[in-house]
Symmetry: C2
Subunit: 202 residues, 2 copies
């Protein structure tokens, strides 16, 4: 007797779903069964959305954020300040900054951070494009380094600071310190050290 199992097409679907981030074998099975048992329009819409998104969404050649043929939400907005450029690691880092409402300038997504261990070196990032954007500016612009506070983020910030020194820009870096709503008792030593170093007069 052969143990009954899902037919091959279901197993193939489960296999593909299992590769998605955060989806384990059991969630993949649950999603596959749900798709099989729900109206055909559901799975057709998902397959369609997947194909359309994959075909029409490209990184903006200027800033690296998600863009379509129709253009880039950030670069095409005339209301943004051309004299402030915020450098982030990933295109996805733009969204939390936009949601915070704290920034009204332009962005530049590097597409990663320097990490010799993962063999990510400066030529793998969109650093030449950044230099070109800064050099193309007619006035001095402020370049805000909004990189992560981990080792690779620090290394990338230091590398960029070295590279951009003397060019037509003023470099700043977003503050490190206590997260909003966080008490001193939950902060680690490095966070407290940075918070102390970054203290401001009130």
């Amino acid at each position: 007797m052969k143990r009954a199992d899902f037919p091959e097409p279901v197993k193939a679907l489960v296999g593909e779903l299992k590769r998605l981030p955060g989806i384990g074998p059991r969630s993949a099975e649950r999603i596959a069964v749900w798709l099989l048992q729900s109206p055909k329009s559901n799975s057709a819409a998902l397959a369609e959305a997947l194909t359309v998104a994959k075909e029409s969404v490209l990184p903006c050649p200027s800033c690296g954020f998600f863009a379509t043929e129709a253009g880039c939400d950030v670069c095409d907005d005339p209301a943004r300040d051309d004299l402030i450029l915020c450098v982030v690691e990933q295109a996805t880092d733009v969204l939390p900054l936009e949601r915070s409402g704290a920034f009204r300038g332009r962005y530049h997504c590097l597409g990663g951070k320097l990490s010799p261990l993962d063999r990510v070196s400066p030529e793998d990032l969109r650093i030449p494009q950044l230099v070109r954007r800064i050099e193309a500016a007619t006035e001095e612009i402020e370049v805000i380094l909004a990189l992560g506070a981990d080792v690779e983020g620090e290394a990338t910030a230091n590398y960029l600071a070295e590279l951009l020194r003397g060019r037509n820009c003023r470099l700043t870096r977003i503050a490190q310190g206590l997260p909003a709503g966080g008490g001193l008792e939950h902060a680690d030593e490095l966070t407290l050290m940075r918070a102390m170093q970054g203290r401001r007069s009130v």
Copy 2:
């Protein structure tokens, strides 16, 4: 200034992913971004697997388990015992039973359980097909009710017991009691009562 957000095709993809069971807004965004940033083959394979599974997988007309044009793993297996029929609620209930290795007969998936509150009545389930299968048998068969131990499972089992009484079958029901590895201190009263009622001589 307009706040930058994902382009429409990405939002559409996130919207479709969010409808999947167990996928919240943040997981949907994470999966969408992962798909956009991974090679095109990944999303193409997923879209393809989805379409193929949805088109080629159908419930087996006899047992209700997942089947393809090529046939049904359970019904087509000549090595299975024709004289034992295991009635389950959902096609997905077949898999854990098969994995347990405790059953070598045929299955009948009802496609649900009786639930007046959800407007599921006997005609919504594959009950006439079950009766026909039992009546078509040349010898007396054993019908094992492997339904859930919840209220609807009980109601469905009672309804089937009433319906099948006097027909060419011997009705049994899977045991209720302590789950494997579960201690008495974690069992609820109803489970303990059932375990006590179902006691067997050793």
